[in-house]
């Protein structure tokens, strides 16, 4: 679904990532780890077309990112759910409207979304907060809202960048369980995190591959954990 083939990326000066290859197969569960500043976020951005590789090839659903125009990238985002560490919302819209935003921008009628939206809010435990504005939400609520927003359009892949960075252990367990549930429904999941405890907790519940970025390259780290 998402393939990186010998990809390199450099920000102006030196290379941040090089000779990096990655394949996200349908239904797989990946962790991406490594110290801060090694390029986890950059790698995720390469995976959803926000950045284009400076060398090598990145393919989203079989299409080379370099051949995709801005609209094609936008349309591919409807098949890729993204959760950021500091997730941003439209602060003047309610939580429910924010969660439904991917459907709204895809031009789907609001009435058709209703049932789906209610179920989804129930699933992430935010039914009672549906009419709250994003600035009124706690860190954990924001993360769960971001996850709900990322999956409302039934994406094939969910990319999460430090989804548990701003929440306590309890909440990160809860988010992890939601992501594992998604994966059991067939969604491909890639979580970037530096939290090794989270990875260990996941390993007992799901068949996860752990990738580590070190020395600008991607290494398989499954055996070490």
């Amino acid at each position: 679904m998402i393939e990186l083939d010998n990809v390199a990326y450099s920000y102006g000066g030196g290379e941040l990532l090089s000779e990096l290859s990655l394949q996200l197969a349908p239904g797989s569960f990946h962790f991406l780890t490594g110290p801060s500043g090694t390029g986890k976020t950059t790698l995720l951005k390469l995976c959803y077309g926000a950045l284009r590789p400076t060398a090598g090839q990145a393919r989203l659903f079989g299409t080379d990112v370099r051949e995709m125009d801005r609209d094609a990238v936008a349309l591919s985002r409807r098949r890729i759910g993204v959760v950021h560490q500091d997730c941003q919302f439209l602060d003047h819209l309610t939580l429910a409207e924010n969660v439904a935003l991917p459907l709204t921008v895809a031009g789907e009628p609001i009435s058709a979304q209703d049932q789906n939206l209610r179920e989804l809010l129930g699933w992430v435990g935010l039914s009672s907060r549906a009419n709250a504005l994003p600035p009124e939400l706690s860190g954990g609520e924001r993360q769960r809202a971001a996850l709900a927003r990322a999956v409302i359009s039934s994406p094939e892949v969910v990319l999460a960048d430090e989804p548990t960075g701003n929440v306590d252990w309890e909440m990160s367990q809860r988010l992890l369980r939601l992501l594992i549930e998604l994966n059991r429904m067939g969604v491909t999941v890639l979580i970037a995190t530096h939290d090794l405890q989270l990875i260990r907790a996941a390993k007992s519940q799901v068949q996860a591959r752990v990738l580590r970025i070190a020395n600008r390259r991607l290494q398989s780290a499954g055996v070490d954990l």
């Binding site: 936008a74 591919s76 950021h84 921008v105």
Partner: protein
Amino acid sequence: MSLHTLSALGRGDKAADRVVPPTGFTARLTLFVSAAMAFLAVFALALSLAAGRLATSWGDELARASTVRISAPVGQVATQTEAALRLLQQTPGVASARALSEAEQQALLAPWFGPDLPVSDLPVPQLIEVTETSEGYDAAGLRLRLQAEVPGAVLDDHARWRKPLVAAAARLKMLGWVSGLLIAAAVGAMVTLAANAALSANAQVIAVLRLVGATDAYIARAFVRRFTLRALSGAAVGTVLGVGAVALLPSGGETAGFLTGLSFRGWHWGIPALVPLLAAVVAFAATAVAARRVLGGLS
């Protein structure tokens, strides 16, 4: 993108409108500037149209009419007038020639000497009104013949003082149109600035929309629609006020001069209705261009 945007404009999209937060202050400024510009545009239009009318009337009516003045000793006026009329009637290019009656001459002089002037007792020159055919006559030839046959006759074909006036009126008309263009350009510049400000103030909104899969066209539409409607409604208010102000200008009545003629005539009253539409078109284009440029620069 533009066609999409255009169709969405007509249809209206509540959900798309909602994704961009409302901005009170800049919205009011855009409205105000559109209204002010539309007000000025109505005056520029009135000026252009009035100047155009003036140029046409001076050009057409005065060009077709000329005057022969007969100043002769009292006893010879009648014979010379007759001779001049005969000569004029034989001149190719003259449609008709008619000696003004005493009453008409008195009416012409009344503004200067009052109505009680006994014109017949004074050595007032006799005037002959000459109307030309559309081809016109040869003024130099006529002048020579008059000189030979009617020594007291002087031909005044109005061209001498008409030409600079017609030129001035045409120039004034052009100035009016240039003002109109400048006003349209100023509206475009203002909307571009406001749209750029709105786009950068809403950088976070745009980033979120991109993240959840909104296309550039969708994002641009939300801004374009907003600014187009603001320019349209602001300009509509300004146009109504401008037309009202023009309608309330005191009319000069019979002796309408240029200043009192600064108004619309007949179907010309419909032309200002185009001002808000034009403002909307300019705002639409300016916002679409600004949005495309800003969005194109984002990842």
